[in-house]
């Protein structure tokens, strides 16, 4: 199949159109804006609607409404705007509504800058809004994955009745790469027999997350937790890149996962048995990926934040293996040599090895 050169943000938008997303509600913010721009141009031609909300809060709540009506719906934003969506995400999680939300992560805190960052990891993977909830978080590392994972995100959302986040960054969103415009996967999805689209011919339905009875409130929470546990067991995804025989392991996702691959190949050229675990789902965190790596002597996580995923890596290896951290902040990216140098330093490797 021929490939088309497009920006990462455009790949997300094109994938959404091709897998039946008919509604997009958004608000412009750099570096995610090409998503709303591309859809504003192309979605109407595919029979859909793009509505620019008065703010991010309106946009996520419009998504909430569209999801109760059974539509495939998406919104996209970048970090400060994504913060504004947290209230809506909590309600979406509680009401169990399938919506795809793209966060093209920029730097923070505050207004921050426009460079690539992964500093919303905690916000994406630990809930972000109020209450006990988790959302499936997919972490693409290249244009093709932005396309593929967007399609996957809609299916996961429908399968589990949950919002699904795509955690991209300013680097992935803006970079142009060749994309194969695949057809959507033929997924077998449950019928949407819960939507509130008018009760003609059936009994009334309601969708809400309100309970003033503590016993019911607890039962609701246990139901949600059971669902999250089922997702935790069944939806962990990762890429194992030369990890099986590795002495030292890198862990990185998204842009960092991509850089880390080059580090692994370069390290092996120099006689150092490096491997990579690249989380594809950030939640559920792919802890299973670390189950059979007993011979690994040390792990270095590489992140574009002050050290957020490193906590999940430490939990996954349960202190069996030393876990160190290499980070760049504020929109900067690490170089291969920098990461190799950090490995040598923290694990006191002989300089000759690298």
């Amino acid at each position: 199949m021929p490939k088309v050169l497009m920006k990462g943000n455009e790949a997300v938008a094109e994938a959404a159109i091709r897998c039946g997303c008919k509604l997009f509600f958004g608000y412009p913010i750099t570096p995610s804006t090409e998503i709303v721009e591309y859809l504003a141009k192309h979605l109407p031609q595919a029979g859909g609607t793009v509505l620019q909300g008065e703010d991010e809060i309106a946009s996520i709540n419009m998504c909430y409404g569209a999801a109760t009506a059974g539509a495939r719906v998406m919104t996209a934003s970048s970090s400060p705007g994504f913060s504004l969506k947290q209230e809506g995400l909590s309600y979406l999680a509680a009401a169990e509504l399938p919506v795809v939300v793209v966060n093209v992560n920029r730097t923070g805190p505050g207004l921050g800058g426009l460079g690539p960052s992964q500093s919303d990891y905690f916000q994406c993977t630990k809930g972000g809004g109020h209450g006990d909830y988790r959302l499936i978080v997919l972490a693409p590392s290249k244009g093709q994955e932005l396309y593929d994972f967007t399609m996957e995100a809609f299916d996961l959302a429908d399968r589990h009745r949950t919002p699904v986040l795509i955690m991209s960054d300013g680097f992935l969103g803006q970079m142009m790469e060749p994309i194969e415009l695949k057809d959507p996967p033929a997924a077998l999805l449950p019928p949407k027999d819960w939507i509130t689209d008018g009760c003609e011919g059936r009994t009334k339905r309601k969708i809400a997350s309100y309970s003033l009875t503590n016993e019911i409130g607890e039962a609701n929470n246990l139901h949600w937790q059971a669902k999250f546990e089922q997702i935790r067991q069944t939806e962990q995804r990762w890429e194992n890149f030369h990890a099986d025989d590795a002495d030292y392991l890198l862990v990185g996702y998204g842009t960092c996962g991509r850089i880390a691959k080059s580090v692994v190949l370069e390290g092996r050229k120099r006689g150092l048995k490096l491997g990579l675990i690249r989380p594809i789902t950030l939640w559920p965190f792919p802890e299973k990926a670390f189950a059979n790596l007993e011979k690994v002597k040390g792990i270095l996580t590489v992140e574009l934040n002050a050290g957020q995923m490193v906590e999940d890596v430490r939990l996954a290896v349960n202190c069996r293996t030393p876990v160190e951290l290499h980070t760049r902040l504020g929109g900067m990216l690490p170089s291969e040599n920098e990461i190799l140098g950090k490995l040598t330093q923290v694990f006191a490797l002989p300089a000759g090895e690298v």
Partner: protein, 250 residues
């Protein structure tokens, strides 16, 4: 024997559990009757946010969606854009629509969103226990204005329907009251027209209704009606505030 009066088909069998003397129940009944008379129960989706309005999900016989505080009109927008042939309405208190939800109210009206909004104005945040709302009257004592609303501190009350009427997309804006049988009949006409405006796809419609909150006002049900008449009616503009071309022809 022929039954000549019963519960409206637009309402469920669940008894209202609003406080004694609260007029939410009257407004519910009017909406229920309108849904039944227009024969739209099966194609209507209601949206109610937080507050006493949040109870209404269970009382109407149509499908219903619960929204976050202030967000009902954004949620209703999403539903209407997904299902343009359905009838979508919001049921919101004054504390909801005129404070935390103001941006959504203004922009839903500005877009001419083809939804119907019912605003219930009792001049307080009711469910949280009678705090000052944007609609609280000058000098009115609430739990967060214990010395009376000081307009130098909090500003004068907002008359939201009047504000929304300035927007082109708002095609029918009306304000009524449910304090007397005459006003109740008038209120029902307004509600009906607001739904008909949507049926004809004309644009945004809102009906604001003055309502009592005896519990938080600290008054008996009868005294509450008198308080509404003496204090709220003179402040808020009443009647059909804006009826544009298509709506006038209904």
């Amino acid at each position: 024997m022929e039954k000549i009066f019963g519960r409206s088909a637009g309402l469920t069998e669940l008894p209202f559990h609003y406080c004694p003397g609260c007029t939410h129940g009257v407004i519910h009944r009017l909406i229920g009757e309108v849904l039944a008379e227009l024969d739209i129960i099966g194609k209507t989706i209601g949206v109610a946010p937080v507050g006493c309005a949040g109870f209404s999900l269970d009382f109407f016989s149509c499908d219903f969606v619960g929204a976050a505080h202030g967000r009902a009109q954004a949620v209703a927008t999403g539903i209407k854009r997904a299902l343009p042939e359905r009838i979508v309405f919001t049921y919101q208190g004054d504390g909801d629509i005129a404070a935390i939800g103001t941006a959504h109210a203004i922009h839903a009206a500005a877009r001419g969103e083809k939804i119907t909004s019912i605003m219930v104005n009792n001049a307080v945040f009711g469910m949280t226990g009678g705090q000052m709302a944007p609609t609280t009257l000058s000098g009115q004592v609430t739990t967060t204005s214990p010395y009376g609303r000081d307009c130098a501190l909090a500003g004068p009350p907002i008359d939201l329907p009047k504000t929304l009427a300035t927007l082109e997309g708002a095609v029918y804006i009306a304000a009524g009251s449910v304090d007397t049988p005459k006003n109740i009949i008038q209120a029902k006409k307004m509600i009906k027209k607001a739904f008909q405006v949507q049926q004809h796809g004309l644009g945004f419609a809102l009906v604001s209704l003055l309502s009592t909150c005896p519990t938080n006002w600290g008054l008996s049900p009868v005294d509450s009606l008198k308080w509404l008449q003496d204090n709220m009616l003179p402040i808020y503009q009443m009647g059909e505030i804006k009826v544009t071309g298509g709506a006038a022809a209904l």
